[in-house]
């Protein structure tokens, strides 16, 4: 956290710290104090006055800041001359107006279609936002999506698809493995939510031997995600498997509760 406050972490590490802080009040408080310390270090240098013009330059550089132009009052000195000129300009202006009208109708049609799409997306996002406000666990999922988005943006990764071995149900998942195999993001969907405190165990399998790699909870929508940091590169293993944790309430016919996927190293550039 001290290194984060000093801004000396690698980008990967900084993302992990920010992800952690988003859910940890104590660490946020600690980092805030450390950043205050760092700010005081920064303010302890010799104080210099910036150039007087700098403030105006900053204000001019702000988005939307334009230079005001005042138009001079119109004069009537050329009234007689404009009469004949208008005979030429008026038809030209009419043509221009018609052209602009046609173009504006075309653009308006395109924009209307785009607005409708955005409104549909907005409605979905609004519904999603309401759910997030009502269910704190959904906020955790949004943070996980953000982490996944950062993961996808940063790394070449190998994708491992997880499916139910019984080929039943709608459950599935994807494991995104970083190029060095030391980090991965597992996301699942269509899973049955288990009674708390139960969750799913993530196993890495090699030559029939299973190694526990992490735990994952799913929400009421069957979605779950977890970041894995295995002690060995993931490519050293043959398979990844998801099973209900032992303390969960057993339910008959839960073939769709188990997922597995073969780990094959092939990189996908993002």
């Amino acid at each position: 956290m001290g290194a984060y406050a000093l801004d000396i972490l690698d980008q990967e590490e900084a993302v992990l710290v920010e992800f952690h802080m988003s859910g940890c009040y104590q660490c946020r408080t600690t980092v805030a104090l450390m950043q205050s310390s760092a700010a005081l270090i920064g303010e302890s240098v010799d104080r210099l006055q910036p150039p007087a013009s700098l403030q105006a330059r900053i204000m001019r550089s702000l988005p939307g800041t334009g230079v005001e132009i005042t138009t001079p009052a119109k004069t009537t000195a050329s009234r007689g001359w404009t009469g004949s000129l208008s005979k030429v300009l008026m038809p030209l202006a009419a043509v221009l107006v018609l052209g602009l009208l046609s173009y504006s109708v075309y653009v308006s049609t395109i924009l209307s279609s785009r607005v409708e799409n955005l409104q549909r997306e907005s409605a979905v996002l609004t519904r999603w936002g309401k759910l997030a406000a009502q269910e704190s666990q959904v906020m955790d999922r949004l943070n996980e999506l953000r982490a996944a988005s950062d993961f996808l943006a940063e790394t070449e990764s190998t994708d491992v698809i997880l499916e139910s071995p019984n080929d039943s149900g709608n459950s599935g998942g994807i494991l995104l493995v970083a190029d060095d195999g030391r980090r991965a993001m597992l996301m699942v969907t269509g899973m049955r939510e288990l009674e708390p405190p139960s969750s799913y165990d993530v196993w890495l399998v090699r030559q029939g031997q299973s190694m526990w790699a992490g735990q994952l909870k799913v929400d009421s929508k069957g979605w779950g995600a977890v970041t894995l940091h295995p002690p060995e590169p993931l490519f050293e293993f043959d398979m990844v498997r998801l099973t209900p944790a032992p303390s969960s309430d057993p339910v008959p016919g839960r073939g769709d509760m188990v997922l597995e996927g073969q780990i094959v190293s092939h990189k996908v550039a993002r």
Partner: protein, 198 residues
Amino acid sequence: MVRGHSKVVDYQEYDDHQLMHQVTLEDKGALEAIYTRYGSSVYSLAMYMLKQEALAEEATQDIFLNIWLKASSYKTDRGEPRAWIMSVAHHKIVDVIRARRRTLAAMDPDGYETLELLPSAQISTEEEVERNIERERILKAVATLPPPQRQVIMMAYFEGYTQSEMAEILKQPLGTVKTRVRLAMQKLRLVLEGDVND
């Protein structure tokens, strides 16, 4: 003066939180007030670290543009606005340093002994006294750090070196550098929490 309003707003009456909130509402007067309070600190830090006036001016301009654009990302539970502003400033300046590391003269890691205080002309005496007291505390705290810890803090903060880079420069294991950074920041944090007697 806020354009378009008949009432004159005195931003000096606003505290930093209120000013930040106003900036999120795209109140340029509020940003000007923040510049009045912290422009000197930001510019001074930029000059100290970049050592070139043109670079420092450009960096300061970019920093306040960032403050304008990212004011909504400031959260009150992440500390005081002042710390956030200086963090934005430091982040930008370090970016410039890292991009131009070859052209900037490297400072001797042992050359951070004197950080003198000069009064600012734009803040009230009472505020200046309070800030000087806090700076004295942090400077004393830094001075009391063991030299290896002080060194990494200064290299990290004023030179923008990452922990990996410092390990390479100092020819120390990365774990050692990380430990020094962690211990140093913990001690400085204690100063702010008032656990260290002056």
